[in-house]
């Protein structure tokens, strides 16, 4: 199976994630799009590890680390979103622009 197909799938997922981060208004949806980007990177790592199948395990090990870091980042990100909601009663990122120029 050609590697290029999988890599194009993951770059598509990455760009859809970027669209989500830039275009969505709800902060939780932005966090979801970030997870989309991280998954695209994970797919890349795992398929590259397939090319180095028994020689090295770095791809899968790094994919595990990415999953861990993504979960940690999401926890802190959601804590921040909930704090913003408590203070401003909104999670729309357009409306939390108090410090914008």
């Amino acid at each position: 199976m050609p590697v290029a197909w999988v890599l194009i799938l993951s770059s598509f997922l990455f760009s859809v994630g970027i669209y989500g981060v830039l275009a969505r208004r709800n902060a939780v949806l932005v966090l979801m799009s970030i997870e989309l980007m991280l998954n695209a990177a994970n797919i890349n790592f795992v398929v590259f590890n397939l090319l180095l199948h028994s020689i090295s395990y770095i791809g899968q090990v790094f994919a595990l680390f990415i999953i861990t870091i993504a979960a940690a980042e999401l926890g802190v990100g959601l804590a921040i979103v909930i704090l913003i909601f408590r203070n401003r009663s909104t999670v729309s990122i357009d409306e939390v622009s108090l410090m914008k120029w």
Partner: protein, 161 residues
């Protein structure tokens, strides 16, 4: 055979990802994310990374999606649709198309001929030995990062007394 499975799963992932960034119903968005994560787990199984696939199910599907749903419900996700997205939609579409174009062209030119060969999956045994011998330093650092995130989230979300 693997190509057929990959094709079906890729179609599912593409559909769910596009619906995730275009839907106006928040909880539907979380469930489309669930579909993308499940598709990624199937891909990991296909690419002989069994342990990573089940970690993806346990952590991402079992905890991250639950956390996102909690976040949505604690910030008043309405049961119907919400208003339209931000004004930057056309610009965002241009940027994401440009990035997709650039990365896929580079990838196509670099990896055009290479194919992968499927053999036996990695056992957890060898993966575990690799983590604890060769990559033990990143492992410890990731543990510290997790601890920091845990303490940070608890401190941030605590109500003032």
């Amino acid at each position: 055979m693997q190509q057929v499975v990959f094709g079906i799963v890729a179609a599912l992932i593409v559909f769910a990802a596009v619906r995730l960034v275009t839907t106006r119903n928040l909880v539907h968005g979380a469930l489309y994310l669930l579909a993308v994560l499940a598709g990624a787990a199937i891909l990991f199984l296909l690419f002989l990374a069994e342990f990573v696939a089940w970690v993806q199910v346990l952590v991402y599907i079992g905890a991250v999606v639950v956390l996102l749903l909690f976040g949505l419900m604690l910030t008043r996700a309405p049961i119907g649709n919400m208003a339209l997205d931000s004004q930057t939609r056309p610009l965002a579409a241009v940027v994401s198309l440009a990035i997709f174009g650039i990365t896929s062209t580079i990838v196509w030119k670099t990896f055009k001929g290479q194919t992968v060969h499927f053999s036996k999956p990695n056992t957890v045994d060898t993966l575990g030995r690799a983590i604890f011998s060769q990559y033990v330093l990143p492992f410890e650092i990731v543990s510290v990062v997790l601890l920091a995130a845990l303490v940070g989230a608890v401190v941030l979300a605590r109500k003032e007394e």
